[in-house]
């Protein structure tokens, strides 16, 4: 407690921190970035291991024989799908019933706030079909889900076929201790959302759906299967769910363990694990894999149909079959055996998966970085904000001691008003950015030659840009401000605000918090009214959240090895914005409201400081 009570030592420490503030901040920033880049370096990561005893030591023998028959069912499904021009509900109900399941259907409909141009849908109507295999060996208190989406066109027919094949095979086994629900959902995530809301009796997004007629127990785990070819070369595991939530790491471990056992190539982010970590190319491979995960997680959207399960406390992942030009092919029987093995092990669970990590990043499928290792990278960035705040505090509190004789207590009282005005105005801009794009789409469509989707996106960009004009307006509203004291107080408030905001974001979604910190922290650290205006304004705009998103889009494409031109990138950027707004409206993703209501106003505060007169 010496630091808190001994005035001499305190003075020495604070003196050092204020004198060396800029170099310490610089070092912290570089250390933070270096730490983050180091996370992908293999010696600094941990090898994945199975923590859950119930899934570890038990022996499971996979005997699923009928891959060919499953593929035939898939072709039959495809034919019926083509004939119906959509989900062949009757055929699915009949087929599932003939395989001995209790079959139910659920109808749902949803009107999107504005047309989704990527997936070409506006008024969505569909049906989910699911069959329940009742557990013969235990009360119906727990359940597992296997789902396959019914996609438009020729996709995923093999997945539905394999799902039906597995259902038939599972029916004949006697060891199931949990209900197994086989779900074929239409309209990918919208159908999944309707089914999950129906299953759990909640309605968070105002969707219309018919209540479920049959239920199993509480769902323990779920896998979503996506197969679009008869043979696959590798299986890709997708973990990132809504709002950057991840399933328990044991689910990934389980997948990896079975891939190893059965001898299937397995990837994460489409990248194979490599052993040459000590070469540059090996390291950059790991960095790419990790950065892809970080970008996907930061986007806050579900990257597979499993993504919405996580919200209900259900561990879930998507498994995607990839068919590339590799020599070594895996047939449907092997994939079926893999699924059987995973369900057998999940069936053995005595409690929900909780032993392993929930917060992790994966530089490859066999290595992971846990929260204790990656948080310091963010902490080093956040500490810069605190140091700057301390510096400002010291600057603010030192003058009154000098002028105590004159009794100057006056500057503090107008200070409150001159801070409150920018705070309120920038937050109102944020509210406008959040609400207006959707509200004003009809108005925009009437007056400008654009489609609804374009109208929403362009309105959002327009409001975002209009926010930059604000400082001049805030100044006109106030009279007699613009003191040196004033901007320092405002900056202190803004810096602390940003620190708390980023801290909370990083706890919920580390990747998003880190990416925002990477761009916003340097800006928050250097901005004062005395830096060169034009140059700093340019730097600020480049470091603003909107541009961060633009860069992230290009970077993501680059990492996926599908580089795009500027024109394509810009179109992609527009569609990403519309997807973000839709994700919020449809599934309750938090990224758009977070950026619009909190991050952007906070950035505006710094913009205000730059133009403080």
């Amino acid at each position: 407690m010496g630091l808190l009570s001994d005035p001499n030592r305190r003075r020495a420490l604070i003196g050092m921190l204020t004198r060396l503030n800029a170099p310490i901040c610089l070092i912290c920033y570089m250390a933070g970035v270096a730490w983050f880049m180091g996370l992908a370096f293999e010696p600094f990561t941990l090898r994945t291991y199975m923590s859950e005893n119930a899934m570890g030591s038990t022996m499971v023998e996979e005997r699923f024989p009928s891959g060919e028959r499953a593929l035939a069912t898939g072709r039959e499904f495809a034919a019926h799908k083509k004939k119906n021009g959509g989900m062949p509900v009757d055929w699915l109900v009949r087929t599932m019933q003939s395989r001995g399941l209790e079959v139910f259907t659920q109808h749902f409909s949803r009107k999107l706030p504005f047309p989704d141009e990527d997936k070409e849908r506006y008024m969505v109507k569909g049906t989910n079909v699911y069959g329940i295999l009742r557990a013969p060996r235990a009360p119906r208190t727990e359940a597992l889900v296997l789902s396959a989406p019914c996609s438009p066109g020729n996709d995923n027919n093999q997945a539905v076929g394999l799902l039906l094949g597995l259902a038939q095979y599972f029916r004949s086994q006697i060891y199931w201790a949990k209900d197994i629900i086989f779900l074929v959902n239409e309209h990918d995530l919208i159908g999944m959302q309707a089914w999950l809301e129906g299953y759990h009796h909640t309605n968070t997004t105002g969707m219309d759906w018919s209540p479920l007629q049959g239920r199993g127990g509480s769902i323990q785990a779920a896998l979503s299967l996506e197969l679009s070819s008869d043979v696959v070369t590798s299986l890709d595991l997708v973990l990132e769910g809504l709002n950057g939530q991840l399933p328990n790491l044991d689910l990934a471990n389980l997948f990896y363990a079975f891939c190893q056992k059965i001898g299937v190539l397995c990837t994460i982010q489409g990248k194979l694990p490599r052993n040459d970590w000590d070469t540059t190319s090996g390291y950059s491979h790991a960095v790419q894999t990790m950065m892809l995960m970080v970008l996907k997680q930061a986007s806050g959207r579900p990257w597979g149909d499993h993504g919405l399960f996580l919200r209900y406390h259900i561990e879930a992942a998507s498994i995607k079959g990839v068919n590339s030009f590799r020599q070594y092919k895996t047939d449907a029987t092997t994939v079926g055996r893999l699924m059987e093995g995973m369900y057998r092990k999940l069936n053995n669970l005595l409690e929900r998966l909780h032993q392993s990590y929930f917060f992790y990043l994966m530089p490859s499928l066999t290595r992971f970085v846990s929260i204790g290792y990656y948080m310091p990278a963010f902490g080093l960035l956040a500490v810069i904000l605190l140091l700057r705040a301390l510096d400002l505090w010291v600057q603010l509190s030192s003058p009154p001691t000098k002028t105590e004789e004159g009794g100057i207590e006056v500057p503090s009282s107008p200070g409150v008003l001159s801070i409150l005005t920018p705070l309120v105005i920038s937050h109102l801009t944020g509210v406008a950015l959040y609400t207006l794009p959707i509200l004003s789409q009809e108005l925009a469509v009437e007056h400008f030659p654009v489609s609804e989707t374009e109208a929403v996106v362009l309105t959002a960009i327009a409001i975002y840009t209009a926010g930059l004009a604000l400082p001049h307006n805030t100044h006109r509203l106030l009279s007699g401000e613009g003191t040196e004291q004033g901007w320092k107080v405002l900056k202190l408030v803004a810096v602390l605000y940003l620190a708390v905001l980023l801290g909370c974001t990083a706890l919920i979604n580390f990747s998003l918090g880190f990416i925002l910190a990477l761009t916003l922290v340097p800006l928050a650290a250097f901005i004062t009214p005395h830096v060169p205006k034009a140059l700093s304004a340019f730097v600020m705009v480049v470091l603003s959240p909107g541009f961060t998103l633009l860069f992230a889009v290009f970077f993501f494409q680059e990492l996926q090895e599908t580089p795009v031109s500027v024109q394509e990138g810009w179109m992609l950027f527009l569609s990403v914005i519309s997807q973000g707004i839709l994700d919020h409206a449809l599934y309750g993703s938090l990224v758009y409201p977070l950026v619009a209501l909190l991050v952007y106003p906070c950035w505006l505060l710094f913009w205000n400081i730059l133009f403080w007169k």
């Binding site: 009570s5 005035p7 001499n8 406390h313 917060f359 705040a389 602390l496 708390v500 919920i508």
Partner: protein
């Protein structure tokens, strides 16, 4: 000064009324930081329903408020929102008047000492001027009414707002020197939640000081007055308990209210220190640590009252703060009461050492509570340790805040007797070190 106060009350009531009408009200009233098992409105409604069915409201281990509260809402249940808003306004006005009185006294005492030339010459900058003291009562009312914690507590219809009103009235009547009213309100506050019992000492010290009776165990006048006050206090407490018995016709409420407060059977997470500790503890240690934790609230009364014998109002502030930190089911409403007093000690600002650290930590913790709750309960990815870490940090920050004010107060008093610029024996500048 009445006009700004009225305006303030109107603004405060408007904010509350708007929040009552919004969809946030349900969300807020479910937050564990805002309501505890002791004072949640949901439980009061449950108690009322049982009472209407002629069943004892205390059967079934849901309702833990006192019989007075349930009978109050038996008549006022349709006007609950207005009652809570009124309670907040009443608290603010009572604090406003009390602080106004207190400031007058401080100023009178300071003038007297100045005329008697008791202050060292270099302490003139520590003397408080009437202009800076003029707005303090208004600031107190403002800090209470516009504090987000108070607003949350009021919108959640947490009965802690009523307790705050009773304590504020107790402070007001003590300031006004009315021993009987003071004893009655203190009894009412004690009846509501036991812990205000410790406020008995500062009230007594204050009333004695006001009548110029020295605190001296050999003087009969001291003993007579003390016994008088204690008699009034215990008498009204007895009347209140008796009245509750006659209203309910049973003694059920004693174990259900006081037993519940003291033995802490409900371990729902809150912002206090009890829940995690007792959830983790082996049963055979429970009684011992229960005593240790509960004694914590009462333990500091004696040393503090010896040290702050001359300053009973500061002692009241310290006691309220300690109760809010160490009580078994604290909510943010408890915090708001002692935070309202912070403007009164504005003149201590230059001696505060950790105010920046403490305010940063309190701010960060307030934002992290809902985030970690979300991660623990909804996302399932964090666990109770995360949440408790924040609770712990929050309590540490509060303790630092209180001890910082305590230190600053003592230091100012020290300077007022020994001069502002202390010299060592060899003539060099001296520093005060707290060890």
């Amino acid at each position: 000064m009445a006009a700004p106060l009225t305006l303030l009350l109107i603004v405060a009531v408007t904010i509350r009324a708007a929040l009552f009408r919004s969809s946030l009200a349900n969300l807020i009233s479910a937050r564990v930081e805002v309501v505890s098992p002791l004072n949640a409105w949901k439980r009061v409604v449950e108690g009322l329903a049982l009472l209407d069915l002629d069943i004892s409201p205390y059967s079934g281990d849901v309702f833990h408020e006192t019989p007075m509260v349930i009978y109050l809402f038996h008549f006022l249940v349709d006007y609950a929102e207005i009652t809570f808003m009124l309670a907040d306004c009443l608290t603010a006005v009572a604090l406003y008047l009390a602080v106004k009185d207190y400031n007058k006294q401080v100023f009178r005492k300071q003038k007297f000492e100045l005329e008697a030339d008791r202050y060292p010459m270099d302490c003139l900058e520590l003397i408080r001027s009437p202009t800076e003291m003029y707005y303090i009562p208004l600031k107190v009312a403002m800090v209470y009414l516009l504090n987000p914690f108070t607003i949350l507590s009021c919108v959640a219809k947490c009965t802690c707002g009523l307790n705050n009103a009773v304590i504020a009235l107790f402070i007001l009547s003590t300031m006004r020197g009315s021993a009987l009213l003071s004893a009655i309100f203190l009894a009412l506050a004690t009846y509501q939640s036991i812990y205000p019992l410790t406020l008995c000492v500062p009230a007594l010290l204050y009333l004695l000081q006001r009548l110029y009776i020295p605190v001296n165990v050999r003087r009969s006048s001291f003993w007579i007055y003390t016994l008088q006050y204690l008699f009034m206090f215990l008498g009204s407490l007895f009347v209140l308990v008796g009245l509750s018995f006659f209203l309910l016709g049973s003694w059920d409420f004693l174990p259900a209210v006081y037993g519940f407060i003291l033995s802490v059977p409900d371990l729902t997470p809150n912002i206090g220190l009890f829940w995690y500790f007792f959830a983790e503890m082996f049963d055979h240690f429970r009684l011992f640590f229960l005593c240790v934790f509960q004694i914590n609230v009462f333990f500091y009364t004696l040393p503090l009252s010896i040290k702050l014998k001359e300053h009973p109002v500061f002692l009241i502030f310290m006691q309220i703060a300690l109760i809010a930190i160490f009580k078994s089911y604290p909510t943010v409403g408890d915090l708001s009461l002692y935070m309202a007093f912070l403007p009164v000690w504005n003149h201590l600002y230059r001696f505060l050492r950790n105010i920046f650290l403490v305010s940063c930590v309190l701010l960060a913790c307030s934002a992290l509570f809902p985030v970690l709750w979300h991660l623990w309960i909804y996302a399932g990815s964090a666990n109770s340790n995360f949440y408790y870490a924040i609770t712990l940090l929050f309590s540490v920050a509060q303790i630092l805040l209180v001890s910082d004010y305590f230190y600053a107060f003592l230091r100012r008093e020290h300077h007022l007797t020994n001069g502002l610029y202390l010299k060592k024996k060899d003539g060099s500048e001296a520093t005060l070190v707290l060890k």
